[in-house]
Symmetry: C2
Subunit: 582 residues, 2 copies
């Protein structure tokens, strides 16, 4: 089979104007950026305000393994399958970070015959939204250090008298706004800034700082949760960036940088329209993490697609305990919209890997035995799938399991799995997807199952309301959401619970930042654990995005490059085409 | 008078497709990015290969003062003036960095009725080229630290055996590739990277590093000097990023990151087409500094414009000792093209400020007396203008002085200055420009003077040939170019001269990195100094860009934010329009 980029390049794409027209956009509602990308105006939502929403299908997965289950392939394939059976459909996905593109994982455009095209444009700069997030974020970081520098250099009183500004008296040991870069750069995780040559102070005041990858910026979460430009501006103003010497929060508004940050992100508010290899209109917008943020494509993109199409297919990061949970709580509480159906992507090899019976590492070769039928491993891994089906049903959402077929899979083992699923109670159906190899034609069974599931009567419920206390909201996610037997708050967390409540931040949503590799907070615990405690180490305030995230275990917000990074394969050929991208 | 952004917004702009067609581009040679920007294909140069080049007009200035002389206003105004008198014309300018936009200086789109529009798009992300430079640059930085980490963590031999890669044995104390960000962020000038939590080494190895502003990246200079994508790729591979433990250079090619860097900059190779307020097609491309780099718009943009238009108007950074010198040496030796005429922008207030009789500081209010006629100050400052006229003529290029008129200027004093210029020997003429207030109509006298100057017979000569030794080339710029009486090389420089020659880097051009505020290397020396020594402190190799730059005095490659930065005024209005940008 050809490589993803070769398949993509061999496919004749429609001009984006034709795609936009097909999607139902007016000429005034999009701006082309080259022949295959267009920015879509938020005017579309206003124009179609009175139309009923289409159905929202959220693609999630079993607990991920180092192998990848093919969630984006299934998302794109399903949208193509729905188009094949004559439905009006759009896909909404997140913009890939360039870090993984150059690092280990490679691109995130789907694969095989189920890709967003051109995949090199999706995987690299696209229309610059991540660059805008990075620029707005680092502008604020520069503003903080500059303000500390100017105020401390001449003294607060002299500063106020000369500048006419109020001294903010930022505590340089209590700055919570780090810097960001869209690369995997472990050397930037912990740095010291504001260093000077001996005897000088012209570079500011030395303090410990660090860089996160841009996707981890609160601005990325804000972009994904904002209703419109005005809401974006308002949320940015609310970001707490540091604390003053008295421990009171300093916001972007206090620093008078919120306007400039919103200006920097003004174009990023518009989703980018592209197409799948089969011409399904696809919106790409925002790319928040699914641990320290909610890990879903933007509310704005959803709102546009739901007005334009009968079916909107989107995906949430990691397994259903992660992106899907956050879609049903953080995102749904903000957008007042909820999924009509969840597709749970599973693979034979992924389920077997989830049994805990294999030793798998990212980048290492897979054991041959994984591709042979193994009833024991399948049954052990199936517990995990069952958990995710129950989890989806818990929110009142019907589940459709998509078994993403790989070439090595035997019909026999696939049918065993199918029967195991069909014998389950609950709102669940199953379909085998061959979207990678066959595109939309390989996802017709899945598309039919999804349309049936979407007709179910809906009884959606989030796990908590914003009015509850922070502690109650955290308990709801851990106990009802994960099935934990208990929750332990560290001393620091207890102090923070009090402080955040006193400071008026208790009506925000909560976001659990835990490992995606287990339903529990211990990555080594596989399957469907039912007797575990969640330890909450620390809370972090994202008052602009509108949630407090709770750190359970180590969460890496700046990946590193492996010894043979993906970038080594990348180059340009004699015609200037990109080679080596996957 | 309205603010620049209000003038810009009140002007009815043509769709960029109309501008492209007017410029002579075929439909296949440009891609629109929204209604007012388009990327221009390098195919254009190939198609028009056999056409003769038009005339190249380079706008330069007297020694700059904190006031600004209005070089970009004159560049845009002159192009509009040439269009007004019926000439086919294009302008080529550099892309503004966002650092100054948010810092002190504000935007760089020209001003008044001589602007590139829409100015907010020019001043902010444009089509993302600077972001591409930043991303490609920082990818390489991450690659260096990752390689040091992986090699040192397991030991060179074990690393080679396991990875199959050759150990590069990078000396972590001899990495010359810093990181970049497109902001004024003084806290990042000197940082420590690779720090770890106590007892851990997962973040790499601690070393001192720093950030420059993106415009200072060698990649920016490469973008401005490359002939095409293949040349860009080749130059990137040649960049020396670090030295190994034996002192031998490690290039981007050695790190196997050059291909990925070129991939990241693939779209940046195409200039962006915009328009002036009067519809003159304008190419925006690259934005190198005029001290540590050559400070001119790209060769690619020039080559496209020279094929399409009879007149190409461009500008070089700072005074004629800086950007203009580098255009006539570094750039002309690369492009084999040279200016047909140089416009020297001068203002009454700027000349008087150049007298050294006023105490002027950036950001501070100007003394009222500066705007009153002052024959003493004018005569003292005139020496500076004379120097720049002679400097331009030295290269065999005719000079046209453009007196950029300010509302406060008296006719009488303007006429005095005009007569002083007219009485000079040499290839020089003079015109008063009112381009700011009147647009192209205010630059007709200037346009006529320029067309006449362009008919002069050309006898262009660079100051050196690449075959000369590094020392000879440096001497040529200092002694012939600046008129220095002597050149002093530091001990370090002498060692470097030897080393660079031994390592085969002696056939590169040279780039003097000195203060722009004086023709000498001492910023406090005003006027036209004729008895001074140039002290060269250190040499820096830019083997990808193709020059060695020589540090004379302190050159700041990372600006800082003032206490009341320009970003404080920026915001969005209720319609989502940007306010407060100037």
């Amino acid at each position: 089979m050809l490589s993803d980029i070769d398949i993509c390049r061999a496919t004749k794409l429609a001009n984006i104007e034709a795609i936009a027209t097909k999607a139902g956009l007016l000429q005034s509602e999009f701006q082309s950026h080259g022949p295959y990308k267009a920015k879509v105006s938020l005017q579309t939502i206003k124009r179609l305000e009175d139309n009923p929403n289409g159905k929202l299908v959220l693609v999630t997965a079993i607990t991920p393994t180092p192998l990848g289950e093919g969630k984006t392939v299934t998302t794109i394939g399903l949208s193509q399958g729905l188009a094949q059976i004559g439905k009006s459909v759009m896909a909404c996905i997140r913009q890939p970070s360039m870090g993984p593109v150059f690092g280990v994982k490679g691109g995130a455009a789907g694969g095989g015959l189920s890709q967003v095209a051109p995949m090199e444009e999706l995987n690299l700069h696209l229309t610059g939204d991540i660059h805008s997030v990075t620029a707005a974020h680092n502008l604020a970081a520069a503003a903080i250090d500059a303000r500390i520098y100017h105020e401390q250099r001449e003294g607060y009183q002299a500063f106020e008298q000369r500048s006419g500004l109020k001294a903010l008296k930022i505590d340089s040991n209590n700055v919570c706004w780090k810097r960001v870069v869209d690369h995997n750069d472990r050397a930037l995780r912990i740095i010291t800034v504001g260093q000077n040559e001996p005897g000088k102070t012209i570079n500011g005041y030395q303090r410990e700082d660090g860089f996160d990858i841009s996707a981890a910026s609160e601005l990325m979460a804000i972009l994904a949760l904002a209703a419109d430009l005005k809401d974006l501006r308002h949320r940015i103003g609310n970001i707490v960036m540091a604390y003053d010497l008295e421990g009171l929060p300093i916001t972007a508004e206090d620093l008078q940088v919120a306007g400039a940050m919103a200006v920097t992100m003004r174009d990023a508010i518009e989703p980018t329209l592209m197409q799948t290899l089969e011409g399904v209109p696809t919106l790409i917008h925002s790319g928040p993490f699914a641990n320290i943020a909610h890990g879903n494509s933007s509310i704005i993109a959803d709102n546009i697609a739901l007005k334009l199409a009968d079916y909107t297919v989107t995906e949430g990061g990691f397994g259903s305990d992660m992106g899907f949970e956050k879609a049903c709580n953080i995102k749904a509480l903000t957008s007042k919209t909820s999924p009509d159906c969840a597709v749970i992507v599973a693979t034979l090899r992924g389920l077997k890997a989830n049994s805990g019976l294999y030793d798998l590492r990212p980048g290492a070769a897979l054991p041959e035995s994984l591709f042979r039928p193994d009833q024991n491993a399948l049954e052990a891994g199936f517990e995990n799938l069952k958990w995710h089906i129950n989890n989806v049903n818990r929110y009142g959402i019907p589940a459709v399991v998509a078994i993403n077929r790989f070439p090595q899979d035997s019909d026999e083992e696939l049918n065993v799995l199918k029967e195991m699923i069909e014998s389950l109670d609950g709102q669940v159906s199953v379909a085998i997807s061959e979207a990678f190899e066959k595109g939309g034609n390989g996802a017709i069974e899945l598309a039919n199952a999804v349309t049936i599931a979407c007709e179910n009567e809906k009884s959606f419920n989030s796990l908590y309301t914003l009015e509850q206390s922070i502690e109650e909201k955290l308990m709801a996610v851990c106990k009802i959401g994960y099935g934990a037997t208990s929750v332990e708050f560290s001393e620091l967390t207890k102090k923070q619970l009090h402080q955040l409540t006193v400071q008026g931040f208790d009506k925000l949503a909560v976001c659990l930042a835990k490992t995606p590799l287990s339903i529990s907070t211990d990555p080594s615990v596989k399957g469907a654990p039912n007797d575990f405690t969640v330890h909450i180490r620390e809370l972090k305030l994202c008052s602009g995005a509108g949630f407090i995230y709770a750190l359970c275990g180590n969460v890496m917000t700046m990946p590193g490059l492996p010894d043979k990074p993906a970038f080594m394969a990348l180059d340009l050929d004699d015609e200037g085409n990109i080679t080596g991208l996957s």
